[in-house]
Subunit: 216 residues, 8 copies
């Protein structure tokens, strides 16, 4: 088998982009259900807080039907640049956005957006063309149907984009539970946004504290 | 066609039961995904708060693998009876639980539980046998797989149980958006637990406040 | 086997209701895809034109997030009563709506609405309670997911509602292709709203006119 | 709502039937995957051991393509009557089988078979006709596809059969975890045949014994 | 549980209807794939030959887009009445068809048609209204999508129709493999139309004749 | 990560092909439902009008069972070459077709056809072999089932074809909503062919014009 | 975009392999239903007859549980080498098989087998390693579940195998309907094995011969 | 087509890794059902015994919610190194684990873990980076949902990992049924973990021993 080099996300080299996850565009998403979609776009924006990553937010024509970003995302990143594009579909075509990304000095980009095939994919391909390493958080992007999502992800993969789950992004950034921001910050994050893991931890802790044997 | 009488939920006659939606049992649910399951069991317990319904909580062997109820549910209902059953599978077999239900004086019962085929169904059938009118919030119950959920719901329907969505429970209780607890309390509830409706309202309000025409 | 009486739709006795198929509520539909949803709600409203049925339109809080009815539906029924409810969830609770239905003098009601579990089901159950025979066009109603649709349809069936396809509504009304509004009006209707049948007719007609044998 | 009487399984009144779950017929099952099918037919036969229920086994033309019962099932019930039918499709048409069932003196029958639409359904309908109360363990029956299973289950329900999960059969029989054969026998049964519950108990017990808090 | 009477198909009392399974209408079927649809409509017509049942064929407007019946079906039943309806949607509205059914003197009717919700269901409901016992071979009917099929089957069930698989029809008619037309005629039928059973028999026979032990 | 160059669709360099989306072949499509299939093939042909792209139409044996192109497509492109192939499966094997494509002078080709695995894929591979850049509009191609579609798309991707959604084709061509044919032409296009986006815009505009706050 | 060369199947250079599509192994297939599986393996073997391709058949341990090839396949190819392997899993490890393939002098290999992940994939990878061009007829191979099929197909694609539908194999071989074995032989083949196309042709021919306009 | 070299698993060069298939993490798996998940992780560990492969076990924070490995796996490999990581997510970051792998001297690694996207994928990518050939047993890895599994498998494939079924791993290791550990050890393994194959062998052997012809 041929040679392969594994480039890993490094929290000192990575940044995060929130792309067009707007309250109107949210309604277009039919490859995930609405509860998971909201959960996943909030999780995406929160990841940058957990790992203290430089973050850039952008929206497309937000006074029109696409609508604004959810207030929760704005509140999470009060100091992040929020580039409101008035026409460019591919955020990389917008000078202010490009400048904001370049200003971070980071070359590893984590992104998610609505829709996957346009907002996420066009930007991811442009970033690859510009020499960035790109991780697409596939849980955080939504689009019209599962086929469109799969086709868009295949298109990004063919350009060298890493299409990964939110869980993989979080743990590739953290690497070791004993490091900052390990258990202290990541477990509450999972309790909120990956509730199967949170419930596992809650029930485990209850068992440690007051549990009785099952009789098995 | 034969005669039919439509008995509607009446917030002055209804009560709500939280049945075995415990942190361990939560892991058994495979007919809904974990994010929706958590969302839906919290929504179920919150409905009683929105409509100020008498509420009874119960758990099955909670120091064992089934685990405790989520802390959020306990916190919502600090004064509700919480009947911790140590052995009875069907909550109606527990004297304290039966007494707690009877003490409310209500004859319309809304319930949900994990698992649908055992914790929800056994109790629902016993309540029907005891003369109660029963609404099973099908979003709030989870079980091993979709077939088991459907079979259990069919079994309850055959006993005269109304198997309904969380949205139907909420709106059958409210009846008119202009009444208490209409828009004021129900819209924030939907914003949290039915985010497609919340996002619709958010984007609508943004359009009313600052929107520009789409050009369509 | 026990006795059964088959009550059939009669175009001289039937009326049609358009219930809350509003442009905002449309986004909540996830048990059908968006293209079929739009197709089916337009087909529902058009059926009343094809068969010249008395029609009543109603909306729920249409200046809010639910939005107005699609302009196409309004244009189809310029003279039909359009009852804009400001608060009542169940349209039957609105005096004007009830009066509009009663004014038609018809006792067979065909309806569809968004969402199936609330707007369609509550009204259908109230109509059954009031003694009407009810046909729910299941293609024309949409809701949050397939489980909710199935549960709502089961609830209506238990109340004696006929849950039927758009195709079944159309052909139970027509009964004989040689009668008015048979081939002349119904085939163009199917060509638009049931394109598999339209394409079958188009290709058939092309074969009759200019076709050559396949060599089979 | 009308009156409903809940007849519950009673381990002193119930018996169990193993119907044509043969090694050849096993291959016809396509509504469940093969691993679950084997798991579920072994679980069905084992339930009778856990609750010490009278059991009757039967096969159809077992020297032909249908094949014999799995050796595990024979070994579980060395003293149970095994009625090898040479032609009758509906086991109730076989005098020896009918006599074996009647000899148990039980009037509550739990059954499962392959295929659901023929071996299970025909017998279940005959048992209902003969005045028995019938519980069809839907996990233990398999057939050609999901539609056939659902249609067969609907047919049985229309005849008053309770179509229930293996979990519901087990817990309706047990009623109280503190009674014989509660935790002591049922937990190991679930550990083998309902591994999600077994793993929950195992991890819980490990947490009680040696667990450390998660840091959540 | 209440009293139930199991009416079984009796080959001396049953007849079979082939309803509108035409080569054009075949293209409308999307609840089954095309290979199974063809297989199943041929199997339906063949069942009448295996059991020597009186058979009536009917088509709807067969010179139009609906097309003729497949030649194989015509060839199977050269002497059966073939009623070509020119307009009536419900075959029971056609005097010739009704006369042909009545001429058989049979009161148990097995039918299948395309589409399930119109051609099969309307006729099945009319037959029930006219006092017939009805078995709908659900494998032999096809329609636009799975939801429409399920709704149509539920409608028929509510009218007392037995919705059953082709396998159940065949074996309820036969009852005992040792009777005519048991193994001799039914096994080759299954080999063609239920190939999983045919392959099971073929491999079994090969093992009996020339097999060697597997070493298991 | 290795170097990647992002070639984007350029409306000054692109052309569009309509390949065998004929009224007979339409019936073969089972990886999309019929309503979406019709919607998507009309959308595909309309894209060329919105962006004023040179267009070539082609059909395969259209007097036979494959049938003609829908009249709507012919009407959209009255002046485009329509190459009626009498035998060649791969349109690139037809001299007239090849000449028509070459006459446009464009090197970026957008195509869709029925079936995906033959009509679309063979031509796309031939175009890649001939040095063209190729975008396959995956929404506009249909075939026998989802597996066949996915395999065909994978085959095209391996040859360097961009497999993209209709939405991605439209927005990669447009690039900026402020440019011609931005909002003015594209929004009505989406209102017709991507109704979830159209309904979003309609409801948004209604809110801007006459909306009242939701009370959230 | 980089250079791509499209190698097409050439009926003068191609051969076909039937790999382990045995009557016992047939039962292991759960990624396709049994009726399609039988249809597709017979279609695969028949393709070689239609195009007069050299053919090699092989089986694995056919006196054991895997069973023999279906008699229909043997009858189609009475003169083809049938290599009965007694142990080698990868047919390429068997000297006789390798010799039989090499004896054809063909370098384009079309194959299908049960199971896809072992019998088809191992041989396909070995053929690629040995310098053959390989087309895997994905309709003709079956395996345990859809995931296993997809993984196996991806593995073959990574080795340069063309994973294609039966329809694509047939039409890439034929290229032009006017050439031998075009319409004369291929249409009857499709009528049998691709019945949606056969029914299209049948209904078309009926329309040409005796059709009347639909009135559309 | 370009050159391809097929590297096959060699039981003299391969080793096997059991990665984090822990009793708590087991509950996170929703891309497979629980019965198959348990079956498949036990099968994975057992493969190393059947082929006598060097094996390394590892766990992540096993006193926390992740829980211990199932006792069955520990019992299978009493002498294998079990590396209990306290923090490293990617096992390759743990010195002891890396040393244990290197100590085997093997360069072909078979692995499976929970979750696929993190525990399996991170380690597989690191192993590829370190020059190992890697086979990911896709049946033995589980994760949050099917999309995450597919994305993770695609990521591994892009790094040159062979993503294969358990059946393919077993048979690529064995190569010839006549070699050790062919029929003697592998058939019982399949009887337990691939029951469709076991049942095939059982029924076949019964037919050889005592079968009678089917009459087909």
């Amino acid at each position: 088998m041929s040679k392969f080099t594994y480039e890993r996300l490094d929290k000192a080299k990575a940044m995060l982009l929130v792309v067009d996850q707007q309250e109107g565009l949210y309604q277009l998403v039919h490859d995930m259900d609405p509860v998971n979609t909201k959960n996943n776009i909030l999780a995406h924006a929160t990841l940058a807080k957990v790992f203290n990553l430089p973050t850039v937010l952008t929206t497309s024509a937000e006074t029109g039907p696409n609508g604004p970003l959810p207030a929760e995302i704005i509140a999470l990143h009060p100091n992040a640049p929020l580039i409101k594009r008035n026409g460019e579909v591919d955020a990389w075509d917008n000078d202010d956005f490009r400048a904001a990304v370049e200003a971070t000095g980071r070359k590893q980009v984590i992104l998610a957006g609505i829709t996957t095939d346009v907002c996420t994919a066009f930007l991811a391909l442009s970033l690859r063309d510009a020499g960035y390493s790109v991780w697409a958080n596939s849980d955080g992007s939504g689009t019209f149907d599962k086929k469109t999502a799969a086709d868009a992800n295949d298109r990004m993969r063919a350009a060298g984009v890493q299409v990964v789950s939110m869980f993989a992004v979080a743990l590739e950034l953290m690497r070791d539970w004993r490091d900052n921001p390990g258990t202290t910050q990541l477990m509450p994050f999972f309790d909120t946004y990956l509730p199967e893991y949170g419930m596992l931890a809650r029930a485990h802790d209850a068992a440690v504290r007051t549990g009785t044997l099952s009789g098995l």
